[in-house]
Structures are given as structure tokens and as C-alpha cells.
């Protein structure tokens, strides 16, 4: 209980994290209560095409197919958040494991894995993603997985660095002297103590995932069966001069979400700072 209260007090003290948290709460509310807060389902093609924001029944206007912009934004939130979470989860788990193994076992294992990480980092991400989507189709699952598979190297590098320094800590030597085997040490001591930078980087990579998905959809490579903000921006391109609200509002949604994740990630970096975690220790 004391721990929870302490965490809460830490959270409220860091402004960035708090702001990020509020932002996430807003997004989650949009996701969960989507049917309740929108009058029209997103794929409802109404009679009013390109209605201005403030028109009766459509407070943010409609696009050229009569779809309600507000509904599209709200349902688009689901897509973006889903992509962000799944991609970041894939990227985080692979990165944590690979980085931990490389740093912990060292020697040849480390050499091989480090080279693999370097190779992955050399490949231009967006081109790889486009290639995969072109080859394997543009379903949302493919998009999420490929984003996850191109962002794990950064997490692996972070985890590897953490592992290398944690290996030298006295409590790791103590665990070995107690007879714990290497697996136990990796999973009980190294990963739980070293994962914090990965966690905050994962939040940042959520922002990257949202942006990438929007970019793909903008290029027409996204999943056409789901509502996506990138798609909205693309659609709105053709009439941006006389009906800018379609692209602009969708663009603002992207900006807001990316901002929220960045605030969260930055704030997490402050809170999960190991010095703060072990307050009271010399």
C-alpha cells in the first residue's frame, strides 16, 4: 500500500508524466466509449458531403463521402492505439530478451547478436516496411508486426548496455556465489533491474508506431478496412484548398497522440530514474 501511494505521489510530481497520463486517459476514453459519444458509425455514408465543421449533426464536418469526421477521428483512435501497443510490445519484448542475452552471456554470443543488431539498424526502416507490405499484403496485423520487427534493435541496445553494467554489480556476484544458475540470474536480477530504460523507450516507440502507421496509410499502403488518420489525411489531400478540415483535423489527432506518448515516455524516464527508485540508499 505504501508503495502504491509513493508511486502515485511520484507520478503527480512529474508534470510531463502527469500530462501524458491525462492524455492517455482521454484517448482511452475515446476508444472505450466510441459508440456512445458518436452519433454515426464511422462507415456511415451520409447525404451531406464536405459539410463544414459546425454544420447541424456534424460538429466537425464531413468528408467527401459524407462520413462524419468526429466519428472517424474517434474510431481512428482505436486503430492507432492498437497499432501502438502491439508494435511496442513486440519491439520491447524482443529487444529486452535479445539485449539481455547478448549483454549477459558476452563473448561470441554478444559479438554475433551485436552484428545482427547493427545490420538491422542499417536497413532504412520505412523502405523495409513498404517492401514487406508490398510483398505480404497490407493487413493491420502485418503493419503492426513489421513495425515491431524494425524497432526492436534500439531496445536491444539499451538493454544490452544496462545488462553490461548490471553484471558488475555486487548483488549479481552474490547471486552467483549463492549458486543460482545463469538463467535465474538473467530473469530474476538482470531483467527486472535493467528494464526501466526499455520501458520508457517503449512508450516513445509507441509514438513512432502511430506516426509510421499514419505514414503508411497516407501512402495508401495501410489496411483499407480500418479507419486510419493517415488515410483521412490522404483522402483530404484532393480538396485541401476548399475543405481543409478533413486533413487538418486528422493531422492534429496524430500530433496530439504523438505528443501524449512523448510526454509519457519522457516523464517515465524521470520517474523510473534508478536514483529516484532507490531513494534513501547511499
Amino acid at each position: 500500500m505504501k508503495k502504491l501511494l509513493k508511486i502515485l505521489s511520484d507520478i503527480t510530481q512529474d508534470r510531463q508524466f502527469f500530462a501524458g497520463l491525462i492524455g492517455v486517459a482521454i484517448l482511452l476514453l475515446l476508444v472505450v466509449f466510441a459508440p456512445l459519444i458518436t452519433k454515426y458509425p464511422a462507415d456511415f455514408y451520409g447525404p451531406d458531403s464536405l459539410a463544414r465543421p459546425g454544420s447541424p449533426g456534424h460538429w466537425l464536418g464531413t468528408n467527401h463521402m459524407g462520413q462524419d469526421i468526429w466519428s472517424m477521428l474517434v474510431y481512428g483512435t482505436r486503430t492507432s492505439l492498437w497499432v501502438a501497443v502491439v508494435a511496442a510490445f513486440i519491439s520491447g519484448s524482443i529487444g529486452l530478451l535479445v539485449g539481455g542475452v547478448a549483454g549477459f552471456f558476452g563473448g561470441k554470443t554478444d559479438m554475433v547478436i551485436s552484428e545482427i543488431i547493427n545490420i538491422f539498424m542499417m536497413i532504412p526502416d520505412l523502405f523495409l516496411i513498404m517492401l514487406v507490405v508490398a510483398l505480404f499484403g497490407n493487413s493491420l496485423t502485418n503493419v503492426m508486426v513489421i513495425i515491431g520487427l524494425t524497432t526492436w534493435p534500439r531496445n536491444a541496445k539499451l538493454m544490452r548496455a544496462q545488462t553490461l553494467s548490471l553484471k558488475e554489480r555486487v548483488f549479481v556476484a552474490g547471486a552467483r556465489a549463492m549458486g543460482e544458475n545463469k538463467n535465474q540470474i538473467l530473469f530474476k536480477y538482470i531483467i527486472p533491474n535493467g528494464m526501466y530504460p526499455v520501458i520508457s523507450n517503449t512508450t516513445m516507440s509507441m509514438a513512432y508506431a502511430v506516426l509510421t502507421e499514419a505514414a503508411l496509410s497516407f501512402m495508401g499502403l495501410g489496411d483499407p478496412n480500418v479507419i486510419s488518420w493517415g488515410q483521412m489525411i490522404n483522402d483530404g489531400r484532393n480538396y485541401i484548398t476548399h475543405a481543409p478540415w478533413v486533413s487538418v483535423l486528422a493531422g492534429l489527432a496524430v500530433v496530439f497522440t504523438v505528443l501524449v506518448f512523448n510526454l509519457l515516455g519522457d516523464g517515465l524516464n524521470h520517474i523510473l530514474n534508478p536514483q529516484k527508485l532507490q531513494r534513501g540508499e547511499r
Binding site: V170, M178, N193, R282
Partner: protein, 328 residues
């Protein structure tokens, strides 16, 4: 030296110097840091052996070799006649139950994520010492009580950063003792603690080990403290033991010029004890391929020609006093 319960035989640890040696690994040009270079010493059961020496002498590496946190390049340690090398191969867990260590830094000795109970019960679980959770909890509480850490139930729930250095080091000692070891290696166990707390920790270590007849290898740079604690003292220099004997003898009548210089430079709290410190020039070098003769020759105030040519044999003196010096 047969008949000793614990026998350290010719143990060595060499590290290659990075950047030396040819690409294809020609042995001729490879330089080695001989951190521990053929150390042999025996201990009786329940004895406290003090190991002193300055930086670079290899005492910390010796601690790591004894506990197999590093694998020796050569040599072995025998406990009750059984080779620890073999023990490790056949039943690693048995080895780790037999030889335990207490580290210098109590503040980093435990993972910050575990409670004290988790820290203490994990080795018990690992080595199958208690059958179930309840008995492990009992045992942990017992351990804390035996070390005067009360109220035990409260402390079990705490995290390491909530406790003081003295408490943490006590817990470290208790954890080591919980596995019923034959040997405990104490590597500078009190140097990071406040002076007024040290005595308690030292007394606890000695009591606990005496009650179970555990042999203690006490490594320290604090010579006055080592004299107080140890039955016998081994003086190390550049990876080798240069002198060995009863604690009192080493301090009061050292024979090796290095030991003499070391003791004379010790500040004593007794104001009446004013000894003129013996000067030795230069700094303790790194043990990279030490020369053919005595390792201390180039800094020794009484070195002669033979000292630079041949490494001195270890000669026995009165009682168990041994010294490796041409001039002693």
C-alpha cells in the same frame, strides 16, 4: 602442510593484457597480468586467516578464486581432502553451500527489487534446505533473531534501501551462514561502514563462525583490525605470499622487508606507539610478467644481487612462521 582442513594449493590466475600478443596468438609476445601467482596456504577448521597487502597484491582476486567467481588458471583448493574443482563439476550447488562470501559493499549486495525475506529465502529454496514456504519463513525469522535484528517480522518485509549499512552487512553474513558453509571469505567486510558500527559486525562474524566452526578468510587493508581478528596472517605482494605466520608474530616481528615497511607505515591509535616509517620508493606496480628475481627487489631497501636473479625459496622459521626472502 598436510593435515590442514583447508588446503589452498598453488592457485593462480592470469589475465592476458589487452592489446598484447600478435593477431594469430603467438604466445611469445603475449603479456600476462599474474594477479595471483602460485599461492599455497593451509587452514585449520574454525581458524581465521587474515590476508593483508596493498592494491595490486591480488587479495581481492584470491577471494574471487576461492569462491569460484573466477576460474583459476591453475591450482586447486581442498576442503576436508576433497578437491573443490571436482566438487564444482560433480555437484555445483554443494560447492556453493560449502564456500560462501561476504562482500565489501553492503549497499549493493542485494537486488533492490526484493524484500529481505525474499533475499533470505531464495537460497534456502534453491538448495532445498526447507521443505515449504512456511518453514522457510520460520527459518528466515530465526536467522534475523540470531543476528540481533529485531523485530524480525518487520525487517523481513523491508527493502534493502530502507536499512542501514550495518544492518545490511549483518544480513549478508546471516545469508552466508544460512547455507552452513565450511568456509566464509570476508572481503573487506567493514571498510564501507562507519567506525562505530564496525565492532558489532566483526564480533558477529566471529561469533557466528566460531559457533559452527566455520573457517574465515579475512581480507582487509586495515592491518590493526586484521591483527585483532585473525589467528594467522598471510602477507601478499604482487600475487604471492611473501610472509605467513601467527598474527602477533607478523605484527611484532616481521621478517620480510615488505612486511616490515608495511607495518611501520601503519598509523596506530596508540600515541605512545611512534615508529619511524620505513620508506619504500615508488608505487606498487601492476603484476604484469614480474621479473625473474624477487618481485619486491626493485623497491626493497636491502636488496642484493641475488635478489634480482632468483626468486627466494620459502623458508620456515619458528612455529608456523614462513618467509620468502634471501635476506631474512
Amino acid at each position: 602442510m598436510s593435515g590442514n582442513y583447508i588446503e589452498i594449493k598453488d592457485i593462480s590466475k592470469f589475465y592476458p593484457v589487452k592489446g598484447s600478443g600478435t593477431l594469430l596468438g603467438g604466445k611469445g609476445s603475449r603479456k600476462l597480468v599474474k594477479a595471483v601467482n602460485g599461492v599455497s596456504v593451509g587452514m585449520a577448521q574454525g581458524e581465521v586467516l587474515g590476508v593483508i597487502g596493498e592494491s595490486g597484491c591480488g587479495k581481492s582476486t584470491l577471494a574471487r578464486l576461492l569462491t569460484r567467481l573466477e576460474t583459476p588458471t591453475a591450482g586447486d583448493v581442498f576442503i576436508g581432502g576433497v578437491s573443490t574443482g571436482k566438487m564444482l563439476e560433480q555437484d555445483a550447488k554443494k560447492f556453493y553451500r560449502t564456500v560462501q562470501i561476504v562482500f565489501q559493499n553492503p549497499y549493493d549486495a542485494f537486488t533492490p527489487r526484493d524484500t529481505i525475506e525474499q533475499l533470505l529465502s531464495r537460497p534456502l529454496k534453491n538448495h532445498g534446505i526447507c521443505p515449504d514456504r512456511a518453514s522457510r519463513h520460520e527459518r528466515c525469522a530465526e536467522l534475523l533473531e540470531s543476528g540481533n535484528l529485531r523485530p524480525a517480522e518487520d525487517i523481513l518485509k523491508r527493502y534493502p534501501h530502507e536499512l542501514s549499512g550495518g544492518q545490511l552487512q549483518r544480513i549478508a553474513i546471516l545469508r552466508a551462514m544460512s547455507l552452513d558453509p565450511a568456509v566464509i571469505v570476508a572481503d573487506e567486510p567493514v571498510s564501507m561502514l562507519d567506525v562505530s558500527v564496525r565492532a558489532d559486525i566483526i564480533n558477529m562474524l566471529l561469533e557466528q563462525s566460531a559457533s559452527k566452526k566455520v573457517t574465515v578468510v579475512f581480507i582487509s587493508h586495515d592491518i590493526a583490525l586484521t591483527r585483532h581478528v585473525a589467528d594467522n596472517i598471510a602477507v601478499m605482494y604482487l600475487g604471492r605470499i611473501v610472509e605467513y605466520g601467527a598474527a602477533q608474530t607478523i605484527i611484532e616481528s616481521p621478517l620480510h622487508p615488505y612486511t616490515q615497511a608495511l607495518i611501520s607505515n601503519c598509523a596506530s591509535i596508540d600515541i605512545a606507539d611512534r615508529v619511524e616509517p620505513i620508506r619504500i620508493d615508488g608505487e606498487p606496480p601492476t603484476p604484469i610478467d614480474p621479473g625473474p628475481g624477487c618481485f619486491f627487489a626493485d623497491r626493497c631497501p636491502v636488496a642484493e644481487e641475488i635478489c634480482f636473479r632468483e626468486y627466494p625459496e620459502t623458508a620456515a622459521r619458528a612455529g608456523n612462521h614462513r618467509v620468502a626472502c634471501h635476506k631474512a
